[in-house]
Amino acid sequence: MADWINTLLQGLLAGGLYALLAAGLSLSFGVMRIINIAHGDFAILAAYGAIFLVGSFGLNPVEAMIIIVPLMAGLGFALQRGILNRTLGSDVLRPLLVTFGFSIIIQNLLLQGFSADSQSLTAGSFGTASIPLGGDIAIGLMPLTVMATAVAVLAGMQWMFNHTMLGRAFRAAADDAEAVRLMGVNHRHIYAMAMGLAMAMVAIAGVFLALQTTIAPTDGPQHLLYAFEAVIIGGLGSLWGTLVGGVILGVAQAIGAKFNPGWGILAGHLCFLAVLVAKPSGLFPTTRDR
């Protein structure tokens, strides 16, 4: 019994990482209707960046994260402003294929720079510490931290959306990209800000990823899929829905893995498909499909 509870808790907390990954995807899709195929690859890029900083300069993971996050935000801003903004329009194909190109470029640059071997960041004793909850049940300190960060980030995003001019501009742009320009909003700038923010969140997720598991240059795509699934399960447009989606995905994977180690990921995918069949708009949909 305790075994099962531990599994569920593990899955629940794993959902935090997925929600963190998904938050950025949710933002960029919500504001710009772009799915960044390279989303997961950017997370891996950030992870390798952190590994590099820790390895070459002896920084600790927190310091590495503090450096990597603004760098990635800047990269996202630049890519949107310089390249992706030129592909905007009703044709979904163009931005999708551009980000697909980014994905290939990033993966192969990482392969060149770091080889195909898996690597990770050591979290020391923090990484293995756990909080006992009575009986044989315990939760890992690292997963708990990730979940807490995810909740904090999502809460921060929610606050931004509701209480800042920028956040309101994001929501307005998501509703009507043309009308928002009539408000005096420079939509190109707004999109770049959204991508920058999305990349910042992706960077946080990436560093946590390196701390919790081993990563390889080609791991990007699967994390894109997890982020995507979390967003769709939760419902497009809902930030807290994304958290729920991530948790459901995490739990599904944990349960699947409990039956057979090789079935964890498959269980997650099947859960996603099941939600798609039963409730295609997700559990807490808020946006209208354009």
């Binding site: 929501r171 307005a172 009539l182 408000m183 909003v185 209208r288």
Partner: protein, 232 residues
Amino acid sequence: MNLLEAENLTAFYGDFQALYGINLHLKEGEAVALIGSNGAGKSTFLRTITGLLPVGGGDIQFAGESLAKRSAHRIVARGVALVPEGRRLFPSLSVEENLRMGGYAKRKGPWNLQRVYNLFPILKEFAKRPGTALSGGQQQMVAIGRALMSNPRLLMCDELSLGLAPIVIRDIYAALPSIRAEGISMLIVEQDTGQALRVADRVYCFQEGRISLEGRPADLTREQISLAYFGV
């Protein structure tokens, strides 16, 4: 110097020419109405002024400066605001948030949230409701208020009366004089010709992308207007 001056303005939707050499002017403080049937080019003209549609040829000058190559958000910052056709409120935002969005450009002037509520008191009641949960007339008020929040020098209204009952239209138009009293100039596109003629200092009639008639409402006869409108 005219506040707004269009000189031989042409505009295209892809290969299709929508405006053929429009010459039009508006003095500061004036209310000018653009009438004409559907598809005549009135809304296209407004879109070109706001920068949503690129200028194909000719020029538009606002307060002496050319708008032709400027992007939409800069044009708003210069003091041109549009109440778009169909209102186009932001469904995810509340009434108050919609109004606040209008103030994004942060132009200085007398209009602020409180003033808009004074002009349209009913909006204060619905401040927290989603923008689209209101009646057509109330949505039109929000759209106008939203445009006012940018403290424009020129307020352009595209089809204010669209889809509204006559009594509601009357109420909306009744608010216009207090807007004009502040010195805001107005450019009104209106299919309801009667309403347009009542409110405007001068009128232009559009017909198939060209100006077919121009003058003061008092000087124009019904026959002239009919001819200009339908082109027969």
